[in-house]
C-alpha cells in the first residue's frame, strides 16, 4: 500500500504540493484529479522518487522511500505523462530492457514480456520496431513496462491520453484486473468519466493542496446529487406505466417514480448496486418494453465542479 504523510514538494520559488496525506490500500484505485499545475504530477513524481520532498514521509508497502529507496522502488511502477520510448528497439526488446532494470531473473524475462505484450493488446506487434507504433500503442507499451515487474503499487500519470476508445477499454480492464490482483493504484487523468468508472476513491487537487478526497460513495454524497434509477420505455401507455409503478414503488430503497419526459421515468435509489440485476429481471418478467435501464449518479465531473477546482483551472 501507499502511505503519504504531510507531503510537501517545493521547487525554487514554487510550492507544488502542500501538506498532502493519503493512503491507498491494496486492491484499491485512487483517482487524482485537478487542473493543470495543481500538483498532480509533482505528487506522483515524489512518490516515484524522482523529486525529493521538502517535508513529509512516503512509504511504499511499509518501506520508507527516503531511507530504503531501492527496496521501495522495487515495489513501485511509474508511468509518466509522456510516452518516451526507444524508437529503434522492438516492442519485446523494450520490455526486456526494463525487466532487466527491475532486476528480474534472466530466465523469466521473456515469459513476462510475452505475457504483458498480450495483456496490453500488442501481441501481433511483438517484433515491430517502436517507431512504427501509433501513439496509443506506445502508451499501452509504456503501461506494460510499468507493470512488467508486478509492482505492488502503480502510479499512472495521464495513462489514457492519446488512446482510442478500444484502447481505453482495454487499459481500464487491465487496470481493474491489476487492482483485483491486489495492487494499489494511483491514477491521474483529465478524462474524468474514465476515472469515475475505474476508481474506488478519488482526490481533487488545487494549487498543490488536496481539496476534497474520499471514496466514491462519499464524494457523490458530497455533491448533494441523488442516485436515481432511470427507465426508458419504448411504449409508454397508461397500462405499462401502471405496471412499472407497481414493480418499482414500494420496493425498499426506491423512491417515488417521476416521468421526466415521455417514456422516461426516474426514481431515487438508495439501495445496493447488487439489487439492480434482480430489479431489471423483475421488470422484464412483467413484459414491460424496456428500451433503457441505468443508474444516474454524480460523476467525478460533478464532484470536480462542486469542489470548485474547475473555476480556478
Amino acid at each position: 500500500m501507499i502511505e503519504i504523510r504531510s507531503l510537501r514538494v517545493d521547487y525554487e520559488n514554487v510550492t507544488a504540493v502542500s501538506d498532502v496525506s493519503l493512503a491507498v490500500e491494496p486492491g484499491r484505485v485512487f483517482g487524482l484529479v485537478g487542473p493543470n499545475g495543481s500538483g498532480k504530477t509533482s505528487l506522483l513524481k515524489a512518490i516515484a522518487g524522482l523529486v525529493e520532498p521538502t517535508y513529509g514521509d512516503i512509504k511504499i508497502c511499509g518501506c520508507d522511500l527516503e531511507l530504503n529507496p531501492r527496496e521501495a522502488l522495487q515495489k513501485l511502477g511509474f508511468m509518466p505523462d509522456f510516452n518516451a520510448v526507444y524508437e529503434n528497439l522492438k516492442v519485446w526488446e523494450y520490455l526486456d530492457v526494463f525487466a532487466t532494470a527491475y532486476l528480474i531473473d534472466r530466465n523469466k524475462r521473456l515469459d513476462l514480456v510475452e505475457k504483458w505484450v498480450n495483456q496490453v493488446g500488442l501481441g501481433d506487434k511483438t517484433d515491430a520496431l517502436i517507431h512504427t507504433l501509433s501513439r496509443g500503442m506506445r502508451q499501452r507499451l509504456v503501461l506494460a513496462r510499468t507493470l512488467i515487474h508486478d509492482p505492488e503499487v502503480a502510479l499512472l500519470d495521464e495513462p489514457a491520453s492519446g488512446i482510442d476508445a478500444l484502447g481505453r477499454i482495454e487499459m481500464r480492464n487491465t487496470l481493474k484486473e491489476a487492482a483485483r490482483g491486489g495492487k494499489a493504484i494511483i491514477i491521474s487523468s483529465h478524462i474524468l468519466s474514465e476515472l469515475s468508472d475505474l476508481c474506488d476513491s478519488a482526490g481533487i487537487m488545487e494549487k498543490g493542496r488536496m481539496v476534497v478526497s474520499g471514496d466514491m460513495a462519499r464524494l457523490r454524497a458530497y455533491t448533494g446529487m441523488k442516485t436515481e434509477i432511470v427507465v426508458h420505455l419504448s411504449e409508454a401507455s397508461d397500462e405499462t406505466v401502471k405496471e412499472l409503478k407497481a414493480v418499482l414503488e414500494g420496493r425498499p430503497g426506491i423512491g417515488a417514480l417521476k416521468e421526466e419526459k415521455t417514456g422516461e421515468f426516474c426514481a431515487e435509489f438508495s439501495g445496493s448496486r447488487d439489487e439492480l440485476p434482480g430489479l431489471l429481471g423483475a421488470l422484464v418478467k412483467e413484459g414491460l418494453p424496456i428500451a433503457q435501464f441505468f443508474i444516474r449518479e454524480a460523476g467525478l465531473e460533478d464532484i470536480y465542479f462542486k469542489a470548485g477546482a474547475g473555476k480556478t483551472s
Binding site: E12, S21, L22, R70, F78, P80, V85, F98, T100
Partner: protein
C-alpha cells in the same frame, strides 16, 4: 556490476540492441572496408614513389607495413576516440532529453550500473569496429618488426583513454537540460575550452596534461615505427615526458594515474546527474578529492615543468609557480563554492534529512550543508600544499603566513558572500552578487589605474587578481624579503621591494585594503550564519506542524 554481467545491465542491453543491428553493422562495415581500402591504396601509391627526394618522411620499402600500421592506428584512434565520444554523447543526450533516463531513475538498479551501461554500451559500435582491426594490426606488427608488446601497450593506453573520453561524453549528455541545439552549442564550447586549455598546458610541457590526452598512446608506438625509418626521435622526446615529482614513471602507469581517478569522478558525477538533474555534479567530499587531486598534479607537474624549462628554455628565468598556485587555488575555491553552496531549498532538505535520521542538524561535511566547514578544510589543504611548494624557494615564514592569510581572506569573503546571497530571500541575488564581484575585482582597479594614470592603486587591494600577483611575486622572487629574519628586517625589505609590489601600491594602502577585506569577510560570515539560522527556524516550525499532522489515512477529507 555491468562488466561482469553485461546481459543484466539494462542500459548496456538497450544500447547494444539499438546500435548493433546486423543491417546497421553490415552497412557501416562495408563503408569502413571501402574507406580502409581507399586509404591503403592511396598509401601504396605514395609509397611507390620511393625515389622522391626531400620527402618529409623519406621512405624505405621495408618500412611500408610499419607505416600502414601507423596510419591504421591513427584511423582506429579516430574511430574510437572521436566517433565513440560523439556517440556516447549523442546516446546520453537522447536519453536525457526524451525522458527515458527518468524511467531508469525510478528502477531499483544501482546508479553505477546505469553509468557503466552507458559508458560501455553507448559507443559499442565504435568498439566493435575498433576491435575488428586489431588482428590486422598484430599481423602488420609482425611484418614490420614492431614489438607486439609495444602494440599491446598502445592498445591498453588507447582503451584507457577511450573510456575516459567516452565517460566525458556521457557526462556532457546527461547534464543537458535544454533544447538540443543549445546543448550542442554549449558542449562544443566547453569541449573547445578544454581542448584549448589542455593544448596550452601540453605546449608548455605539462606532463600531467600530456597524460590526460591521447598523446601518450601514440608517442611510443609512432616513435618505434619512425625509428625504423630515417626519421629520428626529436631530442625533447628523448628527455622523458613521463616525470612526476621528479621521478620517471611508466607512460601507461602515468596515464592511468591521471585518467583513472578523473574517470572515477566523471562516473560519480554522471551517477549523480542520472539520479537527479538538480543535484550538483559532485558532492563536497568528491569536490575535495578533486581539489586534492589537482593540487597533487600541480605539485608533481610544476616540479617537472620547472626542470624542463630550466633544461630546455630559460635556465635563468625564475619560476612563477607560487603565483600560478595562488590563482589556481583561488579558482578552485570559487568553483568549489559555486558547486557546493546549497540553495535555501537544498539547505532546508538537508536539515530535514538530518532530522529524519534522528540528528539535530546536518554534519559539517554533509551535502547541501553550509560551506563554512568545507572552506576551512579547503584552506588547510591549500596551506599544506603551499607550504610544501614554498620550501624549494626558501620563502620566509613571515611571507608565507602573510601571503596565505591574504589568500584565505579572499576565499572566505567569496564563500561566505556567495552563501549569503544564495540562501537569501531577495530577488535578483545572482545579478547583484556577480555585478559586485566584477566591479570590485576587475572594473574598479582598472578604472582607478586609468583615471589616475597609475598614481593610485587603492582598489587593487580589493582584487585577488592584483593582490595575488603582488604576494605571489614577492614570495617567489624577492630574495631580500624572504631572507628577513626579524619583523624589522622584513618591513625594511618590503619598503625597498622591487617586485612591482608594495613600493608602488603603498604599504599603508595594502594593509588598509586587506583589513577592509577582512572586515567584509567577517561581515558576510555573520550574515550567512544569520540566513542559516532563519532557515533552521523555519524548518523547525514546519517540522512541528508535521509532527502534529494526522497520520496517513485512507483518503477522506470532505
Amino acid at each position: 556490476m555491468m562488466p561482469l554481467k553485461p546481459r543484466d545491465n539494462a542500459l548496456f542491453v538497450r544500447n547494444f540492441r539499438d546500435r548493433m543491428r546486423p543491417h546497421v553493422i553490415g552497412s557501416y562495415a562495408a563503408i569502413l572496408f571501402v574507406l580502409v581500402m581507399i586509404f591503403l591504396l592511396a598509401l601504396t601509391e605514395v609509397f611507390a614513389d620511393t625515389g622522391r627526394e626531400n620527402a618529409l618522411f623519406p621512405l624505405i620499402p621495408h618500412c611500408v607495413p610499419a607505416r600502414i600500421l601507423a596510419y591504421l592506428a591513427v584511423f582506429q584512434g579516430a574511430v574510437l576516440l572521436v566517433l565513440g565520444t560523439l556517440s556516447a554523447y549523442r546516446m546520453a543526450l537522447q536519453d536525457r532529453l526524451n525522458g527515458t533516463l527518468d524511467f531508469f531513475r525510478a528502477t531499483p538498479t544501482e546508479g553505477l550500473d546505469h553509468v557503466l551501461g552507458l559508458v560501455f554500451g553507448a559507443p559499442i559500435m565504435e568498439w566493435f569496429f575498433f576491435l575488428l582491426l586489431v588482428p590486422v594490426m598484430f599481423v602488420l606488427a609482425l611484418m614490420s618488426d614492431v614489438k607486439v608488446a609495444v602494440l599491446a601497450e598502445f592498445y591498453a593506453s588507447l582503451a584507457l583513454c577511450a573510456v575516459f573520453y567516452h565517460s566525458l561524453g556521457i557526462l556532457a549528455g546527461v547534464c543537458a537540460t535544454m533544447k538540443k541545439y543549445r546543448a550542442a552549442v554549449n558542449i562544443l564550447g566547453l569541449a573547445a575550452l578544454i581542448c584549448a586549455g589542455t593544448a596550452a598546458l601540453v605546449y608548455i610541457r605539462s606532463s600531467v596534461a600530456y597524460h590526460g590526452t591521447f598523446l601518450p598512446c601514440y608517442t611510443n608506438l609512432l616513435m618505434n615505427i619512425l625509428d625504423k625509418g630515417a626519421f629520428s626521435r626529436p631530442e625533447f622526446l628523448d628527455y622523458s615526458v613521463h616525470i612526476f615529482f621528479g621521478k620517471p614513471l611508466s607512460p601507461l602507469f602515468f596515464q592511468a594515474l591521471v585518467q583513472a581517478p578523473l574517470c572515477g569522478l566523471v562516473w560519480l558525477a554522471t551517477k549523480r546527474k542520472i539520479s537527479s538533474a538538480e543535484t550538483p555534479l559532485l558532492s563536497s567530499f568528491q569536490l575535495l578529492f578533486l581539489t586534492s587531486l589537482i593540487l597533487v598534479f600541480f605539485a608533481g607537474d610544476s616540479l617537472f615543468t620547472a626542470e624542463f624549462r630550466r633544461r630546455w628554455y630559460t635556465p635563468q628565468n625564475p619560476n612563477p609557480i607560487l603565483l600560478i598556485y595562488f590563482y589556481l587555488v583561488f579558482f578552485l575555491s570559487v568553483l568549489f563554492s559555486i558547486m557546493a553552496t546549497p540553495t535555501a531549498l537544498g539547505y532546508q532538505k538537508a536539515l530535514n534529512r538530518a532530522a529524519k535520521s534522528g540528528l539535530s542538524g546536518p554534519g559539517w561535511f554533509v551535502e547541501q550543508n553550509s560551506n563554512a566547514g568545507w572552506t576551512i578544510l579547503l584552506c588547510c589543504l591549500f596551506a599544506a600544499v603551499y607550504f610544501a611548494l614554498c620550501a624549494p624557494f626558501k620563502v620566509s615564514l613571515y611571507i608565507f603566513t602573510a601571503s596565505f592569510a591574504v589568500l584565505a581572506v579572499f576565499i572566505a569573503f567569496f564563500a561566505s558572500a556567495y552563501e549569503f546571497f544564495k540562501l537569501g530571500r531577495f530577488r535578483g541575488k545572482t545579478i547583484i552578487f556577480s555585478t559586485a564581484v566584477l566591479l570590485l575585482w576587475i572594473a574598479l582597479p582598472i578604472t582607478e589605474a586609468i583615471l589616475t594614470s597609475g598614481k593610485y592603486f587603492f582598489f587593487f587591494c580589493f582584487s585577488p587578481l592584483t593582490m595575488f600577483a603582488i604576494w605571489g611575486g614577492m614570495a617567489t622572487n624577492d630574495a631580500a624579503v624572504n631572507s628577513a629574519t626579524t619583523v624589522k628586517q622584513l618591513i625594511a625589505a618590503v619598503k625597498s621591494s622591487n617586485s612591482s609590489s608594495f613600493s608602488e601600491v603603498g604599504a599603508i594602502t595594502v594593509i588598509t585594503g586587506h583589513l577592509l577585506m577582512f572586515a567584509a569577510a567577517v561581515l558576510f560570515i555573520f550574515l550567512a550564519a544569520r540566513e542559516r539560522k532563519r532557515i533552521r527556524a523555519r524548518v523547525a516550525g514546519g517540522r512541528e506542524l508535521n509532527a502534529s499532522a494526522a497520520p496517513a489515512r485512507s483518503p477522506d477529507n470532505i
